[in-house]
């Protein structure tokens, strides 16, 4: 896998912008349509200047842009940085899917052994272990 250097600068800004729950919530809101700063501030217990700071981070990362209406200056979600971040993470899908399959196989093997031996004295029952997972 060779990912070094791929969209490096913009990935930095994109991932940094995504590392905040308020900013992720703003993006979630904008996924369903344009919204003004006042509309975006509404669901949060935050001042408009605080929201504006978050919007600036998102804008600098190219994740949002301003609509044409000069009065409302609605913000809207931009596709490219989200697509690029998804592309980067997709490079690891094979890795983590493989790891999960390996863990599943191990778990099944353990379960099979336990069934074969029967329940050991003082061992936790498979049912309780399953409930905790």
């Amino acid at each position: 896998m060779q990912l070094i250097g791929y969209e490096q600068t913009s990935l930095d800004a994109t991932f940094a912008a995504l590392a905040d729950p308020t900013r992720r919530a703003i993006l979630a809101r904008l996924a369903s349509g344009e919204a003004s700063v006042a509309e975006l501030a509404e669901p949060f217990a935050m001042s408009q200047p605080a929201i504006s700071k978050h919007l600036k981070v998102l804008e600098r990362a190219g994740l949002i842009s301003r609509g044409v209406d000069a009065q409302r200056r609605p913000r809207r979600l931009e596709a490219r940085p989200l697509a690029d971040a998804t592309d980067w993470l997709e490079g690891y899908r094979q890795f983590w899917e493989g790891r999960f399959q390996h863990l599943d196989a191990l778990l099944n093997e353990m379960k099979a052994k336990e069934t074969k031996r029967g329940r050991m004295p003082h061992s936790r029952s498979p049912r309780r272990r399953g409930d905790q997972g």
Copy 2:
């Protein structure tokens, strides 16, 4: 789309950890197998303490862990945070795929109009415009 509150804390740490090219390069290296700190430091023009700082950020985010060999303390890539970050971004796939399809449709419409009208004086040729895109 309702994504607010989903894996919020660990997504913060994961995305913050991914917002650095050296850390992304370390993850790319570890995707092909465990490596010691010395091995990880090798391809970078960086001291081992500088690399260790990056490793701490990755470790705190759960993106890497330490192997069992007490001598080498090899680092290895962990699947869960990468899977969670991918899951979060997948929620936006429909949005950006839709946006790109819309742009494609607009572009085709423009091309069709241009072909119908023939080449206008002083207009750039479709071929040159295509080359730039």
